[in-house]
Symmetry: C2
Subunit: 343 residues, 2 copies
C-alpha cells in the first residue's frame, strides 16, 4: 500500500502506462468487460493494485450520463418510521449496486420543493419520495426525472407507487377494538382539512369500521395533531381524557402517537388495556417493548423498499412506461395494549 502524496490522484493513464496497455483496456478490465485476454487482465490488475488506482467517479458519472445514485426524500430521519424505511431502502439500493442520497423535508413543503429542485441537476438517477403533505405540484413539474412514491401518493399526477391499503388496514384495526367490546373508540392523528393522503385514508377506515358495526360517529372523539410525534399523541390523549366523553379505546394513526398516548394514560393513572385500549399503526420496533406492548398494524417495510427501488430502476430504464402501483399486504399485530396481559 504505497502512500502517495495528494498532489495528483492516480488516473487510468498511469495504470495504462505501467501495464503497457491503452487506457481503453484498463477501462475494460475495471468494468468487467469480458473480451480481455487473461494475461492482459492480470497485468492490468497488478498495475491497478500497485498504484492503488480507483476510478474517479465524477468523471465516470459525467461520461456515462448517470450516477448510480438514488435520491431519497423523507420528512424527518429521526422519526422511527422513516429511519426504518431509510434503512431498508439503503439495503435495497445496495442489492442493485446503487448508492442512496437522503434528504429531509422536515415536513415543510417549501423545503420539499427546494430539495426536489436541488436533486434536479442530473445528480441522481431517480428519486424515492415519502411525501408528508401530499400535493403533487412539485413533482409533476420535474417530469424529466423518475419518481417513485412510498406510502403517500401525490394527488393529481399518476406515478409509480408502493404502499398498503390504508383504509382496509385501519378498518381491521378498529374492528378489532370493537370485537374486544370497546364502544367509545377515539381516533388520534387527523389532519386539517385540505389534507388528503394517508391520514384521510386511516380516518376513512376508522369511520367505515364504526359504520359497519353500528357505532355512532362522535367528532369529539376525533383528534387532530400537528405532527406525528410522541408528544402530539400524549397531548391528544390528555385532551380526550379531559373532554366530555373519555374513550374506552383509541386508534392512533401511527405508533409514535400511540406511545405518547400510552404515556399520557399512565400519567393519569389509567390502566391499558383495562380502562383504555390503544392501537397503533406502522409497527415500530419499539412496540414490542413498550409497557404495555403495543398492538399495531404492520407492513413489510423491507418489501416496500425493495419494491420502490425496483420500480424506480425500471422507470429509469424506460421513462415512458406507464405508471405502476404495488399494493402490499398488512398484518394486525395484536399485543397487550388491546387484549390484556398482566398490566
Amino acid at each position: 500500500m504505497t502512500s502517495h502524496g495528494r498532489a495528483r490522484s492516480v488516473t487510468i493513464k498511469d495504470v495504462a502506462h505501467l501495464a503497457k496497455v491503452s487506457p481503453k483496456t484498463v477501462s475494460n478490465v475495471v468494468n468487467g468487460y469480458v473480451h480481455v485476454s487473461p494475461v492482459t487482465r492480470k497485468r492490468v490488475q497488478r498495475a491497478i493494485q500497485e498504484l492503488d488506482f480507483r476510478p474517479n467517479r465524477s468523471a465516470r458519472n459525467l461520461r456515462r450520463g448517470s450516477t448510480g445514485i438514488i435520491g431519497v426524500i423523507v420528512p424527518d430521519l429521526h422519526m422511527s418510521y422513516f429511519a426504518e424505511l431509510s434503512h431498508q431502502l439503503l439495503m435495497a439500493a445496495e442489492e442493485h449496486g446503487r448508492t442512496l442520497l437522503i434528504e429531509q423535508t422536515l415536513g415543510d413543503w417549501r423545503r420539499e420543493e427546494a430539495v426536489i429542485d436541488h436533486l434536479g441537476d442530473r445528480f441522481v438517477d431517480g428519486v424515492v419520495v415519502t411525501p408528508l403533505a401530499p400535493h403533487g405540484s412539485a413533482f409533476t413539474g420535474r417530469a424529466g426525472m423518475g419518481f417513485v412514491f412510498i406510502g403517500e401518493r401525490p394527488s393529481g399526477c399518476s406515478a409509480d407507487y408502493v404502499g398498503i391499503d390504508n383504509v382496509a388496514a385501519s378498518r381491521e384495526a378498529v374492528t378489532h377494538l370493537v370485537d374486544r367490546g370497546r364502544r367509545r373508540i377515539a381516533a388520534i392523528g387527523l389532519q386539517p382539512e385540505p389534507c388528503g393522503g394517508t391520514p384521510l385514508q386511516r380516518h376513512t377506515g376508522y369511520r367505515e369500521a364504526l359504520a359497519a358495526t353500528g357505532l355512532p360517529v362522535d367528532t369529539r372523539l376525533e383528534k387532530e395533531t400537528v405532527r406525528y410525534h410522541l408528544h402530539d399523541g400524549a397531548r391528544a390523549m390528555r385532551s380526550l381524557l379531559d373532554g366530555p366523553c373519555p374513550p374506552d379505546a383509541v386508534f392512533c394513526f401511527n405508533d409514535a402517537l400511540a406511545l405518547g398516548a400510552l404515556r399520557a394514560l399512565h400519567q393519569r393513572g389509567l390502566r391499558v388495556p383495562d380502562d383504555v385500549a390503544v392501537m397503533g399503526f406502522d409497527d415500530f420496533e419499539a412496540t414490542e417493548f413498550s409497557t404495555p406492548s403495543l398492538s399495531s398494524v404492520a407492513s413489510d417495510k423491507a418489501a416496500m423498499a425493495r419494491g420502490a427501488v425496483r420500480l424506480l430502476l425500471e422507470r429509469i430504464d424506460s421513462p415512458e412506461r406507464p405508471a405502476r402501483e404495488i399494493l402490499l399486504g398488512h398484518t394486525l399485530r395484536i399485543r397487550e395494549s388491546t387484549v390484556g396481559g398482566f398490566s
Copy 2:
C-alpha cells in the same frame, strides 16, 4: 416551465448562445461571481430561466475536483441514536451547503472496510464516521481522505474527533444510583474483551463510581450483550434477575438496552424504580415517554454534528493540520426510572 424532451439536457453553451454571451459569463452568473454587469446578468438569468438550465453537477464535480458531498458512516440507521445523529448531521451539513451520503456498516467491520473503500473514489470530500468496532486499521490506510470520528475514536491513529467524556459521564450516572441508596448496581452492555472504545469507557466509569463509593465489584452483575438493541437489554436483564444475586439497580450502556430492561422488569412483575432502578445512556427522544420515563445521560447531538462537520471542512481545507478533538459536555437527565414518581 417549458417541457423539453429528455433527448439532451440543456448545457451552458445553450444558455450562452441564447443570451449571446460566452460560456464563461454564464458560469460566472451561475456561481455568483461579482464582476458581471447588471444588464448582462439579467440577460443570462432570463436565458437560464427560459431554458430551465441546471448545471450538470457531475461535470462541475469533475472540473472542480471536489463534490461538496460528505460521507457518513454509521452502523445502523434504524437504531435511534444513529438516526438522531444522522438527522443532526444532515442539518449541520446543510448549513454549509454540503450534501450527505449515508452508508451503513451493520456493525460488521468487513462491511465497514468495504464501505470506506467504496467511498475512496474521490466521490466524497471527506467522511464522518461513527465506528462500532473501534479498530482503526481501515482508516489509517486511507490517509488521502479526511476523516472525523464521532463518539468512538479509532485506537492507534490520531484523528479529528468529537465526543463526550464517557468515563466521567458514566461515573456520574452510577454515582447517582448510589446516592439513591442502591447497593447492588448491575451494568449491561459490556463487550467481549478485545474491544475498547465507548463500552470500555462506560464500564470504566461504572467501576470508578463503585470504587469511589466503597461498593464491591461483582462480575456477576456485569453483563455482556451482543448488540445494543432493545431485546439485548431485555435478555440481559432477565439473565440478571435469574442470577444468584438480583440487582437493585442497572446502569445500561445505552437507552435501547435500558428500555429493553424496563420491559423485562415489567414482565417479571417488578416495579421500577421501587424494586430496581434503571439508568440509560444517550437520552433518546423515547426516554421521556417510556413507562416509567427513563433517566439517561444526555449529550448535545446537534452540537456534536455541527462540530464534526466543522472539523471535517477544516480538515478538507488543510489536510496537514494536526488532529483536533472536541470534547462536549453532558447532562444527567433524572426521570422516574431512578427516583420514583408513581410507577
